[in-house]
Amino acid sequence: MYESDGSIMVYWHALDVADTDGCSGPAAGTSSGLVLVFDIPPKGTNVTVSEVLEQHRDAITDIAAELGQAPDGAGDLVSADDAGTLCVWSTGEEFTLLSKIPAFGCSCSSVKLWNGIVAAGYGNGQIRLYEAATGLLRAEVNAHARWIYALDVAPQTGKLLSGAEDSFVHVWKLSRNPDTGEVIEHCHAECVTDTQVCGARFCDPEGNSFAVTGYDLSEIFRYGRV
């Protein structure tokens, strides 16, 4: 849908931004740190850039939209970059920066937003959870022994899936209210023998099954609860 012109290299596309006030569109990140928001007309192919968000100074690695029910003021979109900085945005007439989460020295390779919780996966194998509205760190998980490639959230249950180069895929459970229960707990670990996991996705909105892809693998492995 997006054709790159000479200087802009597109890394990621966020596929659906929450439809608020009908003033939204897909967002794409660039290697220079810009986040471009597009306007897709209801009919025709006249796609235009409606906004350019300039908060990141490093290449954008991932963009995620709120997949659950955001508490008030918690933001609709989060973008992550190569240095590890995260930006939380609210969409509306225009995009507004809600909070900026500073890097801690590691590239953020993958990010998800659910019920006002930002789940970020890093190149050093750590998963961190932040409150989207305030940017506060709520949990630090030493999840993987290598670069995390993929994160996914099952929106109906808050299950979190992480896949990394260490061959492991983990299933976690995010709590709906970080102040009452444990904000994150470990549910299940799966080792995909001799495979560097490159992609991992839940196959249903409750998170009862997930699919995994890996380097040099021509198959997609699907796991389901018995």
């Binding site: 490093d58 290449a59 690695t61 190569d82 240095a83 020295g105 590691c106 590239s107 390779s109 190149g123 050093n124 194998g125 750590q126 506060l136 760190l137 709520r138 949990a139 630090e140 998980v141 030493n142 999840a143 993987h144 022994a145 290598r146 670069w147 260490d166 061959s167 492991f168 983990h170 444990e182 904000v183 994150i184 707990e185 470990h186 670990a189 080792c191 023998t193 001799d194 495979t195 560097q196 380097y215 040099d216 021509s218």
Partner: protein, 351 residues
């Protein structure tokens, strides 16, 4: 994809090539003066290594190499190594050259795959360069050239971010995708499975900068840690000891990229058993390569800077065999599966 992967690809593959040639030359050489004209001596071996290394680190060649550019096809790269291997009086038959290239590529694929951090690919490169410097320690002129390249590597790559290194690593992994040639030394060391795929260990030290998996820490609004829990997996990781050095000299710590060949362990490769990928390889040969013209231009520029020695009047080229006997070499040439043939491009690029 990254435009900075080519120097790393070239230097590491070149390093592996030198390890293998050195091992074979030592295995086939005789001490002292030669009795017959076609025998190798230590003096011949050192000369071959010096010639190849001099050619590899040629200034103009390196300048072309370090320009930001895409990785080219396997065919184009293979042609460069063909030329490089023949930069001295040594000669290799097609079958031996094929085997040499198979070993080089599988070894480097393994090293890239197992790099703990993306940045460690630079340490692997430094390991190769350290070994190359050791090969030519008696020739200060060539040593200078290698140090120059070392400095250029440090200048080009030291300030890259983790994400940029990961992109370089992914670019290299895509280049090596679907290659599953089985190498006897890897099979014996249980580093490769019988289906050609590498073993990924789930134990040992974690990369520098990574914590051993297992701990979950939770914080309240004031930033105080309020709870800790742990989870277990089948992995068995420990903390790393120290970080390798990225300086011109230093302990690299990482073993990937060091010489794993020794004279007493001959190395074989196995072609059969890769049938799953037959279809994709066959397709690759039929579809016309849109980059063909670019590749030829690239090769002409690159090879234009390579001085090729042709054996002079009284000297005959020495043939090196990567196999144990001539009959084995012939047999390998006849039985190499079609889809694994490299179809070398012949280019006359003299200036």
């Amino acid at each position: 994809m990254s435009a900075r992967a080519l120097p790393l690809l070239f230097l590491n593959l070149g390093g592996e090539m030198l390890y293998i040639l050195d091992q074979r030359l030592r295995a086939q050489s005789i001490p002292g003066e030669k009795a017959r004209k076609d025998e190798w001596t230590d003096v011949d071996r050192k000369r071959v290594m010096n010639d190849i290394i001099t050619t590899m680190f040629n200034k103009k060649f390196m300048e072309e190499l370090f320009k930001p550019q895409e990785l080219y096809s396997k065919k184009a790269l293979r042609t460069v190594y063909d030329r490089l291997a023949h930069a001295s009086i040594m000669r290799l038959n097609q079958a031996s050259m094929d085997k040499l290239y198979d070993l080089m590529t599988m070894a480097f694929k393994y090293q890239v795959l197992l790099c703990p951090r993306p940045k460690d690919i630079l340490l692997v490169t430094f390991n190769h360069l350290d070994a190359i410097k050791d090969f030519i320690r008696d020739a200060p002129g060539i040593l200078n050239q290698v140090d120059e390249t070392f400095r250029q590597l440090i200048e080009t790559y030291s300030c890259l971010s983790a994400g940029e290194f990961q992109l370089i690593r992914q670019t290299l992994l895509i280049f090596f995708q679907d290659m599953h040639i089985r190498v006897s030394i890897f099979l014996k060391d249980k580093v490769q499975n019988s289906n050609g795929r590498f073993v990924l260990p789930i134990s040992g030290p974690v990369p520098w900068g990574t914590e051993v998996p297992g701990l979950i820490r939770m914080f309240n609004h004031n930033g105080d840690e309020v709870k800790r829990t742990e989870f277990t997996t089948s992995g068995n990781y420990v903390a790393p000891q120290r970080e390798g050095s990225f300086d011109l000299y230093g302990d690299r710590v990482l073993k990937l990229g060091t010489n794993m060949y020794s004279v007493s362990r001959p190395v074989e490769t196995h072609m059969t058993g890769s049938s799953k990928n037959l279809a994709s390889h066959a397709k690759e040969n039929i579809v016309p390569n849109p980059l063909a013209k670019e590749e030829l231009n690239f090769l002409a520029r690159l090879l234009g800077g390579l001085e090729i020695k042709k054996p002079g009047g009284s000297e005959t080229g020495f043939r090196l065999n990567l196999f144990t006997t001539d009959e084995e070499e012939e047999h390998a040439a006849l039985t190499r599966p079609e889809e694994l043939s490299y179809k070398v491009i012949n280019i006359e690029a003299t200036q």
